[in-house]
Symmetry: C2
Subunit: 238 residues, 2 copies
DNA sequence: CTGAAGCAGCTTGTATCCAAGGATACAAGA
DNA sequence: TCTTGTATCCTTGGATACAAGCTGCTTCAG
C-alpha cells in the first residue's frame, strides 16, 4: 500500500519535460530574445537539476530550431530565419488545407460541437485580451480539425514545421484589428465544416493562414533584431 | 602548425552523429528488427564511447519513432505503426505534389541536367542490384526537386515525416518487377519537369508515391512481426 | 601608445558514479 | 506440483567530476 507516496517523481523524465515547455514557451512568446545566451549550468541551477536532463532539453530545442548550440562557446536563442518561415507556411498551408477538406466531408455532430465550444472559448479569451490562452485555443482548434480529418499524426509534423512560424505569429498578436478578423475566419471555417462544404473550408482556411503570414514583412521591420542577419548579438548577461 | 593531428576528433559531436547514422540505417534497412533490445551500455562499448553521447543518440532515435525507451526496463526497436505510415504518406504526397508542380514551372536547364544525371546513376545502381545506393539516389532526386521548387527547408520536414515510411519502402525493395516501374516513373517526372508541365508532373508523382505505398498491405503480411500489434517480442539476445 | 602573448574564466563535451525500479531465476513452503 | 517471496542482475535516470576549447581581459614588451 505504500505506493502512493512517490507520486511526485513517478514519471522519470517529467522534470525535463517541464523545463522544455518552459523554455519553449518563453522563446515563442519572445520573452527570451534571439542572441540571448543560455547556459546549461545556469538553467540547471535555476530548476534545481543537474546538467544531464537540461542537456537533453537543449538538444530538443536545438532540433526544433529554437536555439543554437555552439560547442565550447555557448548556447544562444536562435534568430527567426525568414526563408524557413516561408517554407513553414508552405507546409502548414498545404497540409491543413487538404486536411480541412477531408474534415468537412467527415465531420460528425459531436465533432462540430467540440469546434463550436472551442470557438466560444476563443471569443472569451480574446475579449479579456488573454493572448496566451487564445494562442493555445487556436492551436487546439487546428489540431481538432486534423483529428476530424482522420490524420492525428500529421499534427505533430505541423507542430515541428511551424515552430518558427509561431514566433512570428506571437509577435503579431496584440496588433491592430486582427483579433476580430481571426475570429471571423475561425467561425467561417467551422461553419463550412458543419455544412460539409470542403471547398468553402479550404478557401477560408487559406485566407486564414495567410492573414498572419501576410504581416511578416511589417513584423520583421518592427522587430528587426528578432530576425536573421540583423546584427545585435546581445551576449551580455543581465 | 600542429593543428592537423586532431582531425579525427575535430567536431565534438561527430562521434555521436556517426552512431546515430549507423543505428538509423540499420533500423531502416531492417537489420535491427522491431522488438529487439538495445542497451545504452552495449552500444557505448561497441563504439568505444561512454553512455552520455549514446543517450543523446537514443533520444533522437526515440523522437524519430525508431526506438522506444522504457525507463528502468530497456530500449527496444519500435514496430512500424501502420496508421502513422498512412499519415506519413499523406504528408509526403501532399507536399511533394505541390512542390513538383512549382519545380516544373521553375526548372532551369542546369537543374534539369542534375536530374538527368541522377536518373542515369539510378539506372546503374538498379542494374547492379545495389539497392542501398539506389535508395540514396532516389532520396537525392526527391530532395533536388524540392530545392528546384524553391523549398529547401521543406525537405527536412519530409525527412522527419517519412521516417516510418522509409522502413516500409526498404522492405518492398527487392521484390518483383518494381525497379522498372519506379525508374519509368522517375523518368516521367523528370520529363514533365523538363517540359514545364506541372499537371503531368503532379499526376506521375502521385502515382509514383502511391506505388510504394500500395504494397503496404502485402508487405505487412509478408513481414508481420515488423508491424505494430503482431505479438513477437524478441527480447532474447543472440 | 600599440600590439601581441598569456592567463583566467567561462562554455560545452565526455566519462564515471550512484540511485531507483523492473525482470527473472531460484529456493522455500504449502 | 504450484505458489510465493526473495535475491540478484539488468535497465535507464540523474548527478558529479574531469577534459578540451573559445573568449576576453590583463600584462608586458617594443
Amino acid at each position: 500500500m505504500a505506493r502512493l507516496d512517490n507520486l511526485a517523481k513517478m514519471a522519470p523524465r517529467a522534470t525535463g519535460q517541464q523545463v522544455y515547455e518552459d523554455l519553449h514557451g518563453q522563446i515563442v512568446r519572445g520573452e527570451l530574445t534571439p542572441g540571448q545566451a543560455l547556459s546549461e549550468t545556469k538553467v540547471a541551477e535555476h530548476y534545481g537539476l543537474s546538467r544531464t536532463p537540461v542537456r537533453e532539453v537543449f538538444w530538443r530545442l536545438g532540433e526544433d530550431g529554437f536555439i543554437r548550440v555552439i560547442p565550447q562557446v555557448g548556447t544562444f536563442v536562435a534568430p527567426i530565419n525568414i526563408p524557413a518561415v516561408y517554407d513553414s507556411q508552405f507546409v502548414r498551408e498545404t497540409l491543413e488545407c487538404r486536411a480541412v477538406a477531408d474534415a468537412a466531408r467527415a465531420a460528425t455532430d459531436p465533432a462540430i460541437g467540440v469546434l463550436r465550444t472551442l470557438l466560444a472559448d476563443q471569443t472569451a479569451a480574446m475579449k479579456s485580451r488573454n493572448f496566451a490562452t487564445f494562442f493555445a485555443l487556436d492551436e487546439a482548434m487546428h489540431r481538432t480539425l486534423m483529428t476530424i480529418a482522420g490524420r492525428p499524426f500529421v499534427w505533430q509534423v505541423i507542430t515541428g514545421a511551424k515552430a518558427q512560424l509561431d514566433r512570428v505569429r506571437f509577435l503579431s498578436l496584440g496588433d491592430e484589428e486582427w483579433p476580430s478578423m481571426i475570429m471571423d475566419q475561425h467561425r467561417g471555417i467551422v461553419d463550412c465544416v458543419a455544412a460539409h462544404d470542403p471547398a468553402g473550408a479550404v478557401r477560408i482556411m487559406t485566407a486564414h493562414l495567410r492573414t498572419a503570414f501576410a504581416a511578416i514583412g511589417r513584423i520583421a521591420t518592427a522587430h528587426e533584431d528578432f530576425f536573421e542577419g540583423s546584427g545585435t548579438h546581445s551576449d551580455e548577461p543581465e
